[in-house]
């Protein structure tokens, strides 16, 4: 029984992305900035390796890797961009 499970798939993406950012930051002993939509990714406290781990795990959990779907994909700059990037790909 899963009470309180978000019914909106976009909420599910957001929840999962936030969970992975927090998990990887904790594992690699990084201090994570508060995850607001206008936070620049480069300032969030995760390095490239952390991002690579986050993207790999999101591919496992959400079944998509929006970075690799298209050679002309634009890299997200803010945390909000990052979420929308996954929401868009997950649809």
């Amino acid at each position: 029984m899963r009470f309180g499970r978000p019914v909106n798939p976009d909420m599910e993406v957001r929840t999962e992305v936030i969970a992975q950012f927090k998990q990887v930051a904790q594992e690699q002993d990084k201090e994570l900035a508060p995850l607001t939509d206008d936070l620049a990714l480069i300032d969030c406290g995760l390095d490239s390796l952390c991002f690579a781990v986050v993207v790999a795990r999101l591919e496992n959990s959400l079944g998509v890797d929006p970075f690799s779907t298209d050679e002309d994909v634009r890299f997200p700059v803010t945390f909000g961009d990052f979420i929308r990037f996954y929401e868009h790909a997950a649809r």
Partner: protein, 471 residues
């Protein structure tokens, strides 16, 4: 200013020959100095007169001290080994011993925790940031020796491999001569082959050079590089992917963007083209052992087939599926390694990189030896497997590469447990986390798997080895 290739005697001599003594090296808060001051030995408190003819291990943290010390020691030390900043200090004793280093030049006291226990074979020469009395007379008085340069690269067992070069082999791909208006920068540390090329290029051409200090964030570094008018800049594809995630990518306006250290894919080349429409986007293939083999500037991944035949000064061939390189840029030999020699009998270096010809172009198809390149750092699967296999609940494991849009590749592990995981809710993730924790305690972070998959069985070949499917 008459510097012929092959007659290059020392870096301080090269600075004098380039004649741009007032151009500056800037490494943010770590320090800055003109090439003239660096050649005169007045930028760093390091007495080199006592180090003449010695074998020296240069194990400093900051890039400014490393740059200044390299200039002061080249032509003075018999041998100079460069300890890269990311490498655990537990290998210090092994490297010092293998390099026959009688002296360790360091900005971190060797008595600090984390250093290897026994470095007593070598004398510690501490350096501190700050100005020194000019060493110019000692540098000029004595005739320079041809210093052996030792670079470190990762080895199968976790111990670094020591690769010997000369200043001539390290600079053979560089066109000397000052080109006014240029300023170089590199994300890549100058103690690794790719970054060292940019450092030497700046020294030989008297070009200003902007380095990233350890304290600077990527955004701060890019902003600084923009302020200092950087025109030419090197990074790995992973460095560039990270830079393009920052609004600070807009603060530089380069004419030339170079990628090396990892295979460049089409997505990063396209992204850089869009971000810097007026820049030449070049990707280079180089390795510590093989030197710079080729540079591709047509904006496409891979290499035109005729470049393989017609790159001036470099002979390349494909044998048994991997790229082989012979040139005056290759390293001389490995120090203290009992593995296969660095070159074959004809002088070719096997890069170990598998390449495939498709429609008139060669494309990289992974490593024959299974080495995984995580953002420019090499991982040997066997080393990671050895750690995972020590976990009490693990029977065997296979570590493999998975493509990553951020770091090119990341490490994942397929693990067979001694007993099947309990089906209780939550025990599988807990055990995965426990194995990852076990890995983090033993391995550098880029070697720790991003994911652990429990599998019932791993394929073993007739010869008793695990079946690995590379690339």
């Amino acid at each position: 200013m008459n510097m012929q290739r092959g007659s290059l005697i020392s870096l301080s001599n090269a600075i004098a020959a380039a004649g741009a003594l007032s151009s500056r090296l800037d490494a943010g808060v770590e320090g800055n100095a003109s090439w003239g001051e660096l050649a005169a030995g007045s930028a760093l408190d390091l007495r080199t007169d006592e180090l003449r003819g010695s074998s020296v291990l240069l194990a400093v943290i900051d890039q400014f001290s490393a740059a200044a010390a390299m200039i002061q020691l080249d032509g003075v030390a018999r041998r100079m080994a460069l300890y890269p900043p990311g490498l655990s200090r537990e290998h210090l004793a092994y490297v010092a011993e293998t390099a026959g280093a009688g002296v360790i030049v360091t900005d971190q006291p060797l008595s600090e925790p984390g250093n290897s226990r026994d470095v007593s074979i070598a004398r510690e020469v501490p350096i501190t940031r700050g100005r020194a009395e000019s060493n110019a007379e000692t540098l000029a008085e004595n005739s320079p020796v041809e210093t052996e340069w030792i670079l470190l690269t990762s080895g199968t067992t976790g111990r670094p491999k020591l690769v010997q070069h000369t200043l001539a082999s390290l600079t053979a791909a560089i066109e000397p001569g000052h080109r006014p208006g240029r300023a170089w920068s590199t994300f890549y540390d100058i103690r690794r082959y790719g970054g060292l090329q940019i450092f030497l290029r700046s020294v030989l051409t008297g070009t200003p050079l902007v380095l990233k200090s350890a304290q600077q964030s990527v955004a701060e570094f890019l902003t600084r590089a923009g302020e200092l008018g950087v025109t030419h800049i090197l990074g790995t594809p992973s460095h560039w992917r990270r830079a393009l995630m920052s609004p600070a990518a807009n603060s530089i306006a380069p004419q030339y963007v170079r990628l090396s250290g990892e295979i460049a894919d089409q997505a990063i080349l396209n992204n850089l083209r869009r971000q810097y429409p007026r820049a030449t986007i070049a990707h280079a293939f180089a390795s510590t052992e093989a030197g710079v083999a080729f540079v591709v500037e047509d904006g496409l991944m891979g290499l035109p087939a005729d470049s393989l035949m017609h790159t001036p000064g470099v002979e390349m061939k494909v044998e048994a599926g991997t790229l082989r390189v012979r040139s005056n840029r290759t390293a001389t030999r490995y120090l203290g390694d009992d593995g296969p020699p660095l070159k074959d009998a004809e002088g070719f270096v096997d890069t170990g990189d598998a390449i495939e010809l498709r429609d008139g172009r060669y494309y990289f198809a992974g490593r024959r030896d299974g080495i995984i390149n995580v953002g420019g750092l090499k991982v040997h699967p066997e080393e990671v497997e050895a750690v995972i296999n020590r976990h009490p609940q693990v029977s065997m494991s296979l570590v493999r590469s998975r493509k990553s849009p951020i770091t090119g590749a990341i490490v994942v592990a397929d693990v067979v447990l001694k007993a099947p995981p309990s089906t209780d809710n939550g025990s599988t993730p807990a055990l995965q986390r426990d194995i990852l924790q076990f890995c983090r305690a033993e391995l550098a972070l880029h070697k720790v798997p991003a994911a652990i998959n429990f599998v019932p069985i791993l394929a073993v070949s007739d010869s008793g080895k695990m079946v690995r499917s590379h690339a």
